[in-house]
Symmetry: C2
Subunit: 182 residues, 2 copies
């Protein structure tokens, strides 16, 4: 295993309400020096929830996504608040976004997005034993909830509005996991 | 299908060498007005390549990832240069990063990363019919190439250094695709 590059210097080059850009001076173990930029993650990370109504039915949401200016299907997700337990965050996001709570919450893994440039981590949580329970969120409009059968995942993935890599990876993972259990 | 929110105004609030942060004033169809920030994608997008040495062996790379300051396993990837065909970009990245070219290149899908905040798209390309062919890249150190068996995907995914959602989603997708073909 290689020795990590040494971080020789860091400098904040931009900071907005949501984004914090840091410049890094790096020295690799072979002596090569480079300057990189990365986005620092400003929060305690995010949580992505796979809410299963039964062993085959996942609850997706359709939400306006400003980055690409279109409505996108995906899994419920949101920030973990300061000091909040990640499973509590998962359950809160579920109640806010799909109107269900979960009796069973299991942390599966953590995803990165583009680890060369972004410091962000997303915790993936499987939610089962759902019960109806709403909770007020901060969405500008009500989210549309779309149930989908995991045994029909291939048809979901050819849709133009189902593109988010984290949601896709988590759906495959849960399909494998629940398929293996039976 | 809902009407998209109207973009009432946009303003660049930060621009660095790599990142371009834009502020958006949006008006949803229900009349609610909100202000968002998003990262604009500055390039023609990125390409992520799934290089198959045979129907079961994928070629991964281990690369230093500044965003999380550690070495990460993942699929070869890079920017599509201005005017470059996406399959040509895929083949170039392969030669630069793993030392192979590919006789068969197939565009599978496009991923987004976090479509609420990021405008970036990643084109996923399956590469088969590999032949040895190197090409000088711009990496600060030589990349380590790690062959992995897709039939042993579950063992790969429990590793701490295999976290990138795009690579994970693409590996599942290709495992399904090649599994379905046989």
């Amino acid at each position: 295993m290689r020795k990590k590059p040494e971080i020789v210097a860091t400098e904040t080059v931009a900071r907005t309400r949501l984004f914090h850009v840091e410049q890094l001076d790096l020295k690799f173990s072979n002596g090569v020096e480079v300057q990189y930029e990365r986005l620092k993650s400003s929060s305690g990370g995010a949580v992505l929830v796979v809410p299963m109504l039964d062993d085959d039915t996942v609850m997706l949401i359709r939400e306006y996504s400003a980055g690409v200016h279109r409505y996108e299907l995906g899994l419920p997700k949101g920030r973990i608040e300061a000091g909040e337990d990640l499973l509590d965050a998962a359950n809160r996001e579920l109640m806010e976004e799909i109107g269900y709570g979960a009796n069973q919450l299991e942390h599966l893994t953590a995803f990165t997005l583009a680890p060369a440039y972004l410091g962000h981590h997303t915790q993936v949580v499987l939610a089962q034993g759902l019960y109806m329970q709403s909770c007020e969120g901060d969405e500008p409009e009500e989210l549309e909830v779309v149930p989908w059968s995991l045994s029909n995942l291939s048809e979901l993935l050819i849709r133009d509005d189902m593109t988010e890599a984290r949601s896709i990876a988590a759906l495959y993972m849960v399909r494998d996991l629940l398929g293996n259990k039976t």
